[in-house]
Assembly symmetry: C2
Homo-oligomer: 95 residues x 2
Amino acid sequence: MFKELNPLLHSELRLGVMSILISADSADFTFIRKQTGATAGNLSVQLDKLSQAGYISIEKGYRGKVPRTTCRITEKGVSAFQEYVEALKSYIGKG
Amino acid sequence: MFKELNPLLHSELRLGVMSILISADSADFTFIRKQTGATAGNLSVQLDKLSQAGYISIEKGYRGKVPRTTCRITEKGVSAFQEYVEALKSYIGKG
DNA sequence: GTAAAGTAGTTTATTTTATAAACCAAAAAA
DNA sequence: TTTTTTGGTTTATAAAATAAACTACTTTAC
């Protein structure tokens, strides 16, 4: 009856991150932080989890002298997100 | 940008319970347990939380000699569910 | 009739997760 | 040159989900 909800995506902050990345192609730490309203610590932890799952890639570099962490969604991430949305529909209907 | 996800509803099992009750009007413990696949212990705890939040009402009675716990969604529960679904859309788009 | 197994749950303990607090390093500003 | 700001990470704490253990009663099998 109900499809399983991928627990890695069924988290407010991680879902927000994925939602941003699925339409933005790439986004940096600060941008994601502002859009989601998350604390830096929490965001750092959750980005790591998404990265370790292979759902996003994280590139650390510099913009001038300022460190800059850029995130991108992977193919695996895109399909995990899509499956999650499908699963959700078994709970909330077509809306 | 993103709407807040009511943490009481943003839980796989509790969301499943609410999803059942929003279309079934009333359902008993055993039925919900089978539909969701939850363990009895987990279901008991989560039903309590929904009940304490005023999202469902729980009526304990007997069917013959066998105890029977019947759940119903409340008005408050219906609107919380609807708001949750609206909030979700800010993350997943129209789908 | 009584021992064993099943039904319908609750309570408590454990694990996992999310979040917050504390911290670090470098750069810019005062 | 001390202070503040930016851009984070690491570690500790709080909250949540889940599982395990238990209770109470009923039915079935001997």
